[in-house]
Subunit: 444 residues, 2 copies
């Protein structure tokens, strides 16, 4: 850590800070976010000079063949990227307040009113990839939602992250009420290992990164983890698919950005449609240099596809993240649904059909965070879904599922407002009866 | 297990059953619940005969001093209790459907609509105490919410649980669509140990029972656990408390039912009010034979309380579940809040005051599932909160917090309804713009 504190001390400070953060007004939290934006703007030279060190070190690694050019490019804050950071901080300030939302209100009895109100989770540990612009984004989302945060970025971005954390921390000192300990930068893997043991202080861990890394986190902590594992997504072309839509949606799902988790990895196509539709789809994929892994029936239909090899059992459970597509001909919708639920990662799956009943069946029976009818799997992310800001994408089945916005950083508490009521009056032979009348919830 | 199946096979069957359950109509699920109620009614003699075996065995244990009379009484299904079971099954059928609720709807673009819809979690393992009437309650809540369930009850109720599981399972066979595997009764501790390893099939574990048991579950599984740990609840009497309310609320919180988690374990009282108010509260507690653990200042005010001993550090973190109350005199509201957040279990805490600003400060800064103003801590449970049915009480900070109703057994999925849209059209220099217009959500 930058500060001279032990990890448990930082975690305890985060826990204490979280109590104060949750009680701050939206105005104070937004003021702090704007102060952060202003400070990054004023101190951009200082930040960019530190970022230059990381970029230069990365360039040396590229020459040694130890880093890809794409990875190095993600490190850069120059070339206008820092303006994006400032803009993003301002836009988080402008988002609606996720706290204090009355989710439910009920009159239990005269003068005894129950409210369920959104509130912060508490202290959150976030572990993210090399991009240094992730640091202000995550810090701002946590502050907006009243959570204290322990952050660990990629080691290649350490100088950039230190500079950003320093500037953000100093910026909020001018804002009355933001507690020290609201954000702490962790710097080493050993510190992560320590964090995993601190279930006493940390309420939630959100790791972003490789599948292996997320699994490591999950396997080594008792703290709840909202993690994103594989994205093995399917596009299923039903017998009643519109041919033009089918071609466009499959090509987009596979090729528009193949390196991401919502790209299509497997094409399922109905036997009834395969003979006519599969050649048209294959022609379009050929133009994008997509390699195919074909099951037996698909091979029979596409004997001359230039870059094809036989699919095997492993094909269906592989996240290629590349211009490679598995193709399986299925008997019909139920085999397609079974395949998706069995081999998929419950992330995002699409059906292409003009048959509304088939679409409804697929959408209700496919057990995935996002199920899509007649559009590309690539649509499933927080920005396109209009969530305002994306904390991450969850493949969990409790709390948050799919693209996670600010709401995923909140929980609720029950507030009961009485006027002297005791439970003894509501029990026994002459018990008072509860009214349990829902009250209108304003502002939603 | 009653069936000749391995635990992994039962868990896999539950996973498969969950796919089908989630797609059933509310009518089918409610029909199954009513069939269950009818079968328990018709076959009550058979169930009561099996229950008799458990009760007789318990009576023998009482004579040997190995079981308390209270525990044995909880085993009984006779004496009208089975009518309560039937009534409860019918009332779950009558509850609103927790599935298919549209939580959010947004027009991303013309002809591209996003919906967030509630759906089942999947396969749930529930482990509960000896009361055999918990079995039909839990099974019915899971079926209502479209989840498959693996159930483990107390071993003292094994004959009763076997009979109930058999009757419920046979009842739903008459209802088309309920998949085999929707409910499996586990019978041994070894089977629980196996379940804990099956994160491949099980989505959530809900244990009810002792703190030690819930901790054991949490420490030995990667599956998310919605558990209820300690209930160390406080009542804080503020300087501006109404004296009569203070006496009533403290006495009710401590004595109305001391053996439960929402009973008050510690009284905090402002120094400014202690000299006049503490003697009045103590007088009322004396009549109920409450033993006090007093801090130094409280001892000075109550030198003659008959059953008093000095409080120590351990007093504040003990869940007495008995007629014992810790008493601490505090300097003011901030010390009270610090005490609650430090020693409490984040379950339920109350403030007694006529000062609205003090109440607001306490309610926003106390980090507990339920925070109560001018009413007894004993109010915090699912029935009194009007949740319809209580799955359990959670001390977790993600997914579900406090009393958990049917909603705690659900999650959501995103359904995207398009008309051929692809992401390529929304990127690059001539990108289409998203509209992101919220659509009215009906029926909420």
């Amino acid at each position: 850590m930058t500060e001279n504190r032990s990890v448990p001390a930082a975690a305890r400070a985060a826990r204490e800070a979280s109590r104060a953060l949750g009680a701050l007004s939206a105005e104070t939290r937004n003021l702090a976010l704007l102060a952060m934006a202003g400070a990054v703007n004023r101190r951009r030279d200082e930040i960019l000079a530190e970022n230059r060190k990381d970029v230069d070190a990365a360039d040396a690694l590229i020459e040694e063949g130890k880093l890809t050019g794409a990875a190095a490019k993600r490190l850069q804050l120059g070339g206008g990227k820092i303006d994006g950071v400032i803009e993003s901080l301002r836009s988080v300030a402008a988002l609606p307040d996720p706290l204090g939302e009355i989710q439910m209100a009920m009159e239990l009895d005269t003068g005894l009113h129950l409210y369920r109100v959104s509130c912060p989770i508490g202290a959150i540990a976030m572990i993210f990839e090399s991009r240094p612009d992730a640091l202000p984004q995550i810090a701002s989302l946590c502050l907006k939602s009243g959570n204290a945060v322990l952050l660990k970025g990629g080691s290649e971005a350490l100088n950039s992250n230190r500079a950003l954390a320093r500037v953000l921390n100093e910026a909020v000192r001018s804002v009355r009420g933001i507690p020290p300990g609201w954000m702490t930068l962790l710097e080493t893997r050993e510190e992560i290992a320590e964090i995993l043991k601190l279930d006493e202080y940390i309420d939630l861990i959100i790791p972003r990164g490789s599948n292996e890394f997320v699994r490591y986190i999950m396997d080594n902590t008792k703290i709840p983890v909202t993690g994103h594992r594989d994205g093995i997504c399917h596009t299923y072309v039903h017998a009643a698919a519109d041919p033009e839509k089918a071609v466009r949606i499959v090509v987009d799902g596979k090729t528009q950005y193949p390196a991401v988790c919502n790209a299509t990895e497997t094409l399922l196509i109905d036997r009834a449609a395969a003979a006519t539709l599969l050649p048209a789809i294959a022609n379009a994929l050929k133009e994008k240099d997509v390699a195919l892994r074909l099951d037996e029936q698909a091979r029979a239909i596409l004997p001359d596809y230039p870059d094809a090899s036989p699919a095997d059992e492993e094909t269906w459970s592989t996240e290629h993240l590349d211009l490679i597509l598995g193709v399986r001909v299925v008997k019909g919708i139920d085999q397609a649904i079974d395949h998706v639920n069995r081999y998929g990662s419950h992330h995002t799956d699409a059906i292409v059909t003009e048959d509304a009943r088939a679409a409804a069946r697929f959408m209700s029976r496919v057990d995935s965070a996002s199920v899509i009818h007649n559009a590309s799997t690539r649509f499933s992310d927080g920005y396109r879904y209009g969530l305002g800001a994306e904390v991450g994408i969850s493949t969990e089945k409790i709390h948050s599922r799919g693209p996670v916005g600010l709401e995923g950083l909140t929980i609720y508490k029950y507030l009961l407002q009485g006027s002297g009521q005791i439970v003894a009056d509501y029990s026994g032979p002459n018990a008072r009866k509860f009214i349990h009348r829902p009250l209108p919830v304003s502002g939603s």
